[in-house]
Symmetry: D2
């Protein structure tokens, strides 16, 4: 299993009039965290795109367990437990400073050819990077 933790500070613009982080802010947190997971393992999403691969989101699911507040320093834990052959499942859990899990969910990306816009098998060079990461 590959995993990574990123810290995100909640800013004013992330909140709504309920005084907590807006539910539509979380996809952004998930995105930042999965990018940092890849970067920590030497992959930038940028180089993936340059190799002709894009990873559009196929599905997003999140459960909101507790609110997050302005100025919270959240820990976003991301993990991957299967090779992203075509579908790339990324699990995310978010914790507040008190160590409480406040949000958890999953995003599924689809390996897609930038040229044709169609799903493709993730290139072997990239899959082998994932195999190395998991060791």
């Amino acid at each position: 299993m590959i995993e990574h933790e990123t810290q995100i500070r909640v800013c004013y613009g992330d909140t709504d009039m309920m005084g907590v982080v807006y539910y539509g802010t979380y996809p952004r947190y998930y995105e930042i965290a999965r990018t940092e997971l890849l970067r920590a393992h030497g992959i930038t999403y940028k180089e993936i795109e340059e190799a002709g691969l894009i990873w559009p989101v196929r599905s997003f699911h999140a459960t909101y367990l507790k609110p997050a507040y302005y100025d919270d320093l959240l820990t976003v834990r991301t993990f991957v437990d299967q090779l992203p052959e075509v579908r790339f499942h990324i699990h995310t859990e978010i914790f507040n400073q008190a160590g409480e899990m406040i949000n958890k969910g999953e995003v599924v990306l689809i390996s897609t050819s930038r040229e044709t816009g169609r799903p493709i098998k993730t290139p072997e060079w990239l899959l082998s990077k994932f195999r190395e990461m998991g060791e």
Copy 2:
């Protein structure tokens, strides 16, 4: 069943560098559509809050079937098929101008006391409004 359709025009700020609507923009579309469903039936979210009830999001799930593009005029169909006793399930489907379903999902809100922050049964005056709507 209660249902409603709202139209939303995709703006520049909704898109990302992939040239399509960013996946994190959809929660906003879902929110606008469910507010308009309520408004169309004579309920404003504002009066609900004034009555001491808040509806924080418990979960969000969306499947991204096709991309939405800048300037698209989307039709967002929202429907409710059970009384929101405590959990309020709202189904959403989004269609593009060609009539293709591009996104579908569900949001679950929880009837919560503004004062205590705890889940409560939705007040009877509001439930009876939902019963009327569904007739």
Copy 3:
């Protein structure tokens, strides 16, 4: 002078924990309003881009006079008082339901070649459309 009015409903995601519309939400309102000004005069930003012209923002200035609140139905008035030869100045004023001006400002776009990324004179076919609008 060319002018147009668009209505925008404030949604939950537009607000912040101060209970009012976040200052960073306004550029989006300005963008929606100027797009609708063009559309009302038979120009879509999309066709402009297809003609090889892009209009990146050069500057944004806004003065926040009064707060806007959740569920407000804002009237966004946009006007253009000079031909967009290279720089395209767009003035914006936002009013609440009570008719109070709550925000005013200006955005300057630059006519730019999509191919070279350099400023260019706005094509004559487009300038003449602006001349017609102003009549």
Copy 4:
């Protein structure tokens, strides 16, 4: 003069279909940077609010000099050159990895009583913190 530098990584959601950071994303960058300036000097915006003071934005001005791209690691320099007696002027400059200034501007906040919603003189305890910072 009080100054501070913060680094911000551009994420996917910050960009638009032009392939660059959306102009409406910058207010968020400005906000993050001024919060970090205060934090670096031992002030949290949270404690200010708890002391009954709020700082709504009075004006925002930004000039967009060059585009910022996905995955750029931006350096946001914030500086304050006068005591925030009532109006709090904050200057911001943003640089890309190549050291090029890509954006500059100013935000003016107004010291406001949380209770009355009216402008007030910034409390002495806070002004003296600013005096110390500037030494």
